[in-house]
């Protein structure tokens, strides 16, 4: 059922809903056994930018027996029309109601999209709670970084796919097909799924709590259900499937370019960073394979921009060779090359000359903390001298504007560390004036400060977030200190960060909060115009749940954490060791220099950088 044109004419950016893009996959429903609705729980523009979905869309559609389609959260104006005219949420390609699909999959990228997932299920007419779903209702499956702790959505999701989905999803399809052919029994299907590597079925576990609200026990309901679920990785990235076609959005999206995934994992080990831990071990693609894939994508898409993607691109062992190979043909094809996420210690004149986005755009670095002491605590391994050297290169190359990212509220942070942020900005200005070949205009340093959010599977997973008052005080403290008008300072909404912190370390008790939020129509929390902190606090109060228990409490080192049943490879012992090193202000060298024994190498992998695996 396609959305009537009269409705499309009433909403903003109707191109979000029409489908028909170049590269979309259309199949005849009669030819397939499995209909899969791949949902991104936010708007089309954000969802269409997600590389993971593009990979999995192509893997599922390569199967002759499966048709994977896309669905996104409608913007508020469209939602209003849908509710007014009783239109259910449908797939973009064929306009099939989600409720008629075999699977409805969600990619959970950030905590603030949980309410969008529930709102989308609600718009689709699907029961929110998995326990209430009928035998023939769609199977709700989710993946993405938030599933490493999916406990806050445990009541809603049938299956969580832990880790990388390239192999997991096809395996899940096989199991489903077998069950469908034999007369589908939901319970039997889920039970079999729970026994597979990396597939977590939350409903098959019982959680008991202590009187103080912490977890007393977390036990499988049946003997054949594993107590721990280990994440899956793609062992050889060169052989990993990659999408040979991309759906080309008509309307502008956030990442409107070819995104070439260079490697997975990160050698660094910043202690606040979840991605740096959960994507271990590092696995690189070889430059030859990447060059070949880039050419295929350039032909297939017609994009004029190519972005190299990874957690820290300059740590790629063959970065010189790869950029040379790409630049040998991209100019002729009118494709500009883009390198995000540069570290200050790797920023060189050679790179700056090569990369067009660096030549034209602004320059951004992320020192994360203002003093060396605090940078050592978080294991950033970047020194002030590195930053100033990188800025000098930029200034000599004609730049006058630098943007610096920081985090506030990090463990052990004092006002002295906050002063350090201002001092660092001042040093960058001084460096500008000390650079002989500087451009003939005034310099500008923009400081952008985020609030620290303790995340599961990081050395800081036990830490508390500063309470609201303290977060706001820290933000304002710096406002008062910055007097140089060449320094601009902005910061994230602390209220948003607090909600993220609550759900990031949440347990199953929060399902009730999300359900109540869905009832009250909360959604699009990632959008300033809809985010309503006071409403969230009312909901917590109504549900009798103290948000500070999750956000502002230091978790005990011997406490059972809500995500302890998930094994990401990196061990809890390693995380604890790192936590204690943080408090003694000791750094850990990166994986290439020395193995710190994180445990991820037991997962295997090709072209890793772990000295123990080579």
């Amino acid at each position: 059922m396609k959305i009537p044109e009269s409705i499309l004419k009433k909403v903003e950016k109707p191109g979000r809903y029409t489908g028909g893009e170049w590269g979309e996959v259309i199949k005849d429903p009669k030819d397939v056994d499995i209909r899969f609705a791949f949902c991104f729980p936010d708007t089309y523009e954000i969802g269409m930018s997600n590389l993971g979905i593009r990979i999995l869309y192509s893997i599922l559609n390569e199967r002759a027996d499966t048709w994977c389609e896309r669905a996104y959260a409608p913007w508020a104006d469209m939602e209003e029309q849908m509710r007014l005219h009783n239109l259910p949420l449908c797939t973009v390609e064929s306009g099939t109601p989600l409720a008629e699909c075999d699977f409805v999959g969600f990619s959970l990228q950030y905590e603030l999209c949980y309410t969008n997932m529930l709102n989308m299920l609600n718009l689709a007419g699907i029961e929110l709670e998995s326990a209430k779903r009928a035998n023939d209702a769609p199977i709700i499956v989710c993946g993405g970084p938030c599933t490493y702790n999916s406990e806050p959505v445990a009541d809603f999701v049938d299956i969580c796919l832990i880790g990388e989905g390239e192999d997991e999803l096809p395996e899940l399809m096989e199991i489903y097909k077998k069950h469908k052919a034999a007369g589908f029994d939901r319970a039997a299907f889920l039970r079999e799924v729970s026994r597979q590597e990396s597939m977590y079925v939350p409903s098959l576990y019982d959680v008991e709590y202590n009187e103080d609200g912490t977890i007393k026990s977390f036990t499988p309901k049946y003997e054949d259900v594993p107590a721990k679920v280990r994440k899956r990785i793609v062992k050889d990235m060169d052989k990993a499937p990659f999408p040979k076609n991309l759906v080309m959005p008509f309307i502008q999206t956030v990442q409107d370019r070819i995104v070439l995934e260079v490697y997975r994992g990160c050698i660094r080990g910043c202690r606040f960073c979840q991605a740096g831990m959960v994507y271990r071990p590092v696995r690189e693609k070889s430059p030859e394979v990447l060059d070949e894939q880039a050419r295929i994508l350039a032909d297939a898409t017609g994009y004029s921009e190519l972005s190299l993607s990874s957690l820290s691109i300059s740590d790629y062992s063959c970065i010189e060779r790869l950029t040379d190979m790409l630049l040998s043909w991209t100019d002729d094809r009118k494709i500009s090359l883009n390198l995000p996420s540069l570290r200050v210690d790797s920023f060189t004149k050679e790179l700056m000359d090569k990369i067009s986005t660096i030549r034209t755009g602004g320059i951004t670095f992320a020192p994360e903390a203002g003093t060396q002491r605090l940078r050592d605590v978080i294991n950033k391994n970047v020194e002030k001298a590195d930053l100033l050297r990188a800025c000098r290169v930029a200034f000599e190359g004609g730049k006058s504007q630098v943007k610096l990212y920081f985090m506030q509220g990090l463990p052990t942070e004092t006002d002295e560390d906050l002063d350090g942020i201002n001092d660092l900005a001042q040093s960058v200005i001084d460096e500008f004036y000390a650079t002989p070949g500087r451009p003939k205009k005034a310099p500008q340093v923009t400081l952008s400060a985020a609030c620290f959010i303790p995340k599961p599977f990081t050395p800081f997973q036990w830490e508390k977030q500063c309470d609201m008052e303290e977060l706001l005080r820290k933000q304002k403290y710096l406002t008062g200190k910055i007097t140089n008008r060449k320094i601009r300072y902005n910061y994230h909404d602390a209220k948003v960060s607090r909600i993220e912190a609550i759900f990031a370390r949440g347990d199953r008790k929060l399902c009730r909060v999300l359900l109540e939020a869905a009832k009250r129509g909360v959604r699009l929390d990632g959008w300033e115009e809809f985010f309503d902190y006071d409403k969230w606090m009312e909901i917590f109060e109504y549900c009798g749940i103290d948000p500070a228990f999750y956000a502002n409490r230091e978790f005990g080192e011997d406490e059972i954490l809500p995500w302890d049943n998930i094994d990401i490879g990196v061990t809890k012992e390693f995380l604890l060791r790192e936590r204690h090193k943080a408090y003694s202000e000791k750094t850990t060298p990166n994986c290439r220099l020395q193995c710190s024994g994180c445990g991820a190498n037991k997962l295997g992998g090709e072209r890793t950088c772990c000295p123990k695996m080579q």
Partner: protein, 230 residues
């Protein structure tokens, strides 16, 4: 700047924009064209600089929601390619909803486009007066057709658009009323097809309530309103 001694061949592409493409803004159409050009690998002339983009010129933009059988875009080719091949390669690279009908060497300028022929179909849901076609004709051929135009600069103002409407036909088939009219595309006197709907709705209140409408630009003409623009 074109490279010295470069072949520089102007080619006009006549194309249609229908289906889901009608909900795409002019800016997004340009982006879609750009990626289609790159996929086609045609030797199209690109601007120099850090972000090269094809040097193209489009005929006057359509409103979002309006489809068209006669849109034009001018490009420059850096090598001799037959007009047939250009059309063929573009059609292989266009998403469905875009289709190149013809490629040729342009003569007229886009600013010569003064009139557009529109076909507007109304799927009527309520009672239909037997003389609806006559009433439509009367409404659209009146000496004075007053509508409210909005602009960000001047706000709302009432304008007589009678001089910018040339009524062609009105036919009823079942519950579908099809109205054809030539509307001014002149910059100063541009008549948006939505004013036709407003005028009809004002002449026959209730008849058009809840009607789905489909608007399509069929042809464009020079100043006389008769000679087809090519």
């Amino acid at each position: 700047m074109l490279p010295e001694n470069a072949v520089n061949i102007k080619v006009r592409i006549k194309f249609s924009k229908t289906g889901s493409l009608k909900f795409i803004s002019h800016l997004d159409l340009q982006r879609t064209m750009q990626s289609s050009f790159l996929r086609s690998k045609l030797p199209i002339y690109y601007s120099e600089g850090f972000n090269p983009h094809p040097k193209v010129v489009f005929s006057p933009p359509l409103s979002v929601g309006v489809s068209s059988l006669t849109e034009f875009v001018d490009v420059k080719m850096l090598a001799e390619v037959s007009h047939e091949e250009i059309a063929e390669k573009l059609n292989a690279s266009f998403p469905k909803g875009l289709h190149a009908h013809a490629c040729y060497t342009p003569t007229a300028k886009f600013s010569d486009i003064k009139w557009g022929l529109y076909e507007i179909k109304y799927e009527l849901t309520g009672d239909i007066p037997t003389d609806i076609c006559e009433k439509a004709k009367a409404a659209l051929t009146a000496e004075e057709i007053i509508v409210e135009k909005f602009s960000k600069k001047t706000g709302a103002k009432t304008v007589n658009i009678a001089g910018g409407i040339r009524f062609c036909s009105a036919e009823l088939e079942g519950s579908v009323l099809t109205v054809c009219a030539k509307l001014s595309c002149d910059e100063a006197a541009f008549v948006n097809p939505k004013y036709v709907s407003e005028t009809l709705a004002a002449a026959m209140p209730t008849v058009f309530e809840g009607a789905e409408e489909e608007v399509c630009r069929m042809e464009v003409y020079l100043a006389d309103g008769e000679t087809l623009f090519e």
